[in-house]
C-alpha cells in the first residue's frame, strides 16, 4: 500500500498526467481508502511540489504539469470521495481583480488550493467588486482570494474589500491577496486578512485563515 501511494505521489510531482489516473485506479482496486489516497498521495505530492517551488527548484511550468497530473487523478478519485462523504478543506472564491486580465498567477494559486483539497470557485480575470460580492452570497465561501499583477490594478483589491464591507459580508469571509506588486504591508493597509508571496504559501495561508 505504501508503495502504491508513493508511486502516485511521485507521479504527481513529476507531472505524469497519463500515469496518475491508472495508479489511482490501481490503489482503489487494491482497497485503499479514497481519503487516504487523497491525503497521503495526491495532497502530499502537491505539497512537495509547492515546497520545491518555494525553494526555487521548481518554476511555473513544473507546477502546472503537476497540478494537471493531480487533476487527472482526481477525476477517478472524486466520485469515490463524494460517495465516502469526504469534506473539502474549505471553499475559496478566487479571481483577478477588476481591470487586470492577468490570470497566470491566479490559476496557479487555484490549482494549488485544489491540490490541497480546497473547493475552488474561479471567477476568472477582470472581476468587479460586485461580482465578488455576488459570488460570496451565492456560494457561501469561507475565503475570497484576490490576485493582481499590475501596480495600477492593486487598488481594485481595496475596492473589493470595501464592497464586501458595504454588503455586510466582510465578517463572513477571510480575504487573502497576492500578485507580483503586492506586499504584506500593502495587504495590511487594505485590511486583507493575509498576503502570500507565492502559490505554495497561499495554501498554507488559506489553511491558517480557516483553522
Amino acid at each position: 500500500m505504501a508503495d502504491l501511494l508513493n508511486e502516485i505521489k511521485e507521479a504527481v510531482i513529476d507531472g505524469l498526467q497519463k500515469v496518475v489516473p491508472g495508479k489511482v485506479q490501481a490503489a482503489l482496486d487494491a482497497g485503499i481508502d479514497p481519503e487516504t489516497i487523497l491525503n497521503e498521495a495526491m495532497i502530499k505530492g502537491m505539497s512537495e511540489v509547492g515546497q520545491l517551488f518555494e525553494d526555487g527548484e521548481f518554476f511555473v511550468p513544473e507546477m502546472l504539469v503537476a497540478a494537471r497530473a493531480m487533476a487527472s487523478g482526481m477525476e477517478i478519485l472524486k466520485p469515490r470521495l463524494i460517495q465516502a462523504d469526504v469534506k473539502s478543506a474549505g471553499k475559496v472564491i478566487i479571481g483577478t481583480v477588476q481591470g487586470d486580465l492577468h490570470d497566470i498567477g491566479k490559476n496557479l494559486v487555484g490549482m494549488m488550493l485544489e491540490g490541497a483539497a480546497f473547493e475552488v470557485v474561479d471567477l476568472g480575470a477582470d472581476v468587479s467588486p460586485e461580482k465578488f460580492v455576488e459570488a460570496v452570497k451565492e456560494n457561501g465561501a469561507q475565503i475570497v482570494a484576490l490576485s493582481a499583477l499590475l501596480t495600477t490594478t492593486m487598488p481594485s483589491m481595496k475596492a473589493t474589500i470595501e464592497a464586501l464591507e458595504t454588503a455586510g459580508l466582510r465578517d463572513k469571509v477571510k480575504v487573502m491577496v497576492g500578485g507580483a506588486p503586492l506586499s504584506d504591508q500593502y495587504a495590511k493597509e487594505i485590511h486583507a486578512d493575509g498576503y502570500s508571496p507565492d502559490a505554495n504559501r497561499a495554501v498554507a495561508l488559506a489553511k491558517s485563515l480557516i483553522a
Partner: protein, 294 residues
C-alpha cells in the same frame, strides 16, 4: 527624435538615461482602480503627456510609450478591442509631444500577452507571433525609434515576439526580462540563457526590468554581462509598494539610493539605465545627475 541613427549611438557605447514608471505615476495622477493605463491614453491624454514630459525634463534620453498592454490579444478582452491601432498611434504621439525640441528617442513598449503558450496555457506560438507583429507594425508606422519587449518571463514567448516583430520592423530591438524569482523568471529562465538566446536571435540590446530587489537585479546584470557582448538595458523597480497615511501608494527605494547604485551598474556594463515600478521623475533626475558626473 535622435539626430543621427540611434543604432550608431548604441554601438558607439553612448550611455542612455531611460525613463521611470508609467503605471504607478498614472495612479498618483488619479487613474482609478480597474482602469488600464491605455484607457487614459485615449480619454485623458494630458495625464500620460505630463508624466512623459516630467521624465523628459528630468533627463531621460529615451521615453517609453504607454502601450505595455496595447496588444490585440490583451485588448480583445476589453472594450478597446477595436482600438488597438488607435491606442498605439496616440501613445506614440504623446511621447513625440513630450520629446519635442529635445534629443530624445522614442521607444515603443511591448509587454507580454499575459497568457501562457501551450502546453502550459491556451495560446499557440503563432498567436504570439501575429499579435506582436501587429502591435510592432503600428508602433513602427507611428514613428518610434526603437522597440522594447519588456517584463518578459518566457523564452518561448520572447522568441515568437522577436520573430513577429522582425517580420514587420527593422528598428533596433531591446529584449528585456523580469527575474522576479530572484535570478530566474517565473518560468525558470536564467539571465545567461536569456542573454544567449536573444543574442543568437539577433536582438540589438538585452535587458532586465522590474524583477525583485536591487541586489537581485544587480546580480542578474552581472550574469547577463558574462553571457553576451550586446549592450545591456537595466530598469529595476523601486521596491515594493505601500500605502501611506495619505491613502496613496508609496515605494521605499529613494532617488538617492537608486543613484548611489549607478556607478556599480555602469561598471558592470549597463548602457541604458532607468527605473521601473514606483519610480518618479525624481528618481530619473537622480540617475541622470549621477551619470553625467560619472
Amino acid at each position: 527624435m535622435a539626430g543621427k541613427p540611434l543604432i550608431d549611438d548604441i554601438k558607439n557605447g553612448k550611455i542612455f538615461i531611460l525613463d521611470g514608471a508609467l503605471g504607478t505615476n498614472m495612479q498618483l495622477n488619479g487613474l482609478p482602480a480597474g482602469k488600464l493605463n491605455e484607457e487614459w491614453v485615449l480619454e485623458k491624454p494630458e495625464i500620460p503627456l505630463k508624466i512623459h514630459s516630467d521624465f523628459a525634463e528630468a533627463g531621460s534620453d529615451i521615453l517609453l510609450t504607454m502601450t505595455f498592454c496595447a496588444n490585440p490579444i490583451h485588448l480583445s478582452d476589453t472594450p478597446f478591442a477595436q482600438r488597438t491601432k488607435e491606442i498605439n498611434y496616440k501613445a506614440v504621439d504623446l511621447v513625440k509631444e513630450a520629446a519635442k525640441g529635445k534629443n530624445i528617442s522614442i521607444a515603443g513598449s511591448l509587454g507580454p500577452i499575459g497568457k501562457l503558450m501551450a502546453p502550459y496555457g491556451p495560446l499557440e506560438p503563432n498567436d504570439f507571433y501575429t499579435s506582436f507583429a501587429e502591435q510592432a507594425k503600428y508602433l513602427t508606422e507611428a514613428g518610434v525609434d526603437l522597440l522594447v519587449l519588456e517584463t518578459f518571463y518566457s523564452i518561448e514567448e520572447g522568441t515568437e515576439a522577436l520573430k513577429g516583430i522582425r517580420s514587420v520592423s527593422d528598428l533596433p530591438l531591446v529584449v528585456s526580462f523580469s527575474f522576479d524569482r530572484g535570478t530566474r523568471t517565473m518560468m525558470g529562465a536564467k539571465p545567461s540563457t536569456v542573454a544567449q538566446t536573444f543574442t543568437d536571435l539577433g536582438a540589438d540590446v538585452i535587458g532586465i526590468n522590474c524583477g525583485k530587489g536591487l541586489d537581485e537585479n544587480t546580480e542578474c546584470l552581472k550574469m547577463m554581462r558574462d553571457a553576451t557582448t550586446l549592450p545591456l538595458w537595466f530598469k529595476p523597480n523601486a521596491g515594493k509598494p505601500e500605502i501611506g497615511s495619505d491613502g496613496k501608494t508609496h515605494y521605499h527605494v529613494t532617488p538617492e539610493e537608486i543613484a548611489s547604485r549607478v556607478p556599480d551598474w555602469l561598471a558592470i556594463g549597463a548602457q541604458f539605465i532607468g527605473c521601473c515600478c514606483g519610480s518618479t521623475a525624481a528618481h530619473i533626475h537622480a540617475i541622470a545627475s549621477r551619470i553625467k558626473t560619472a
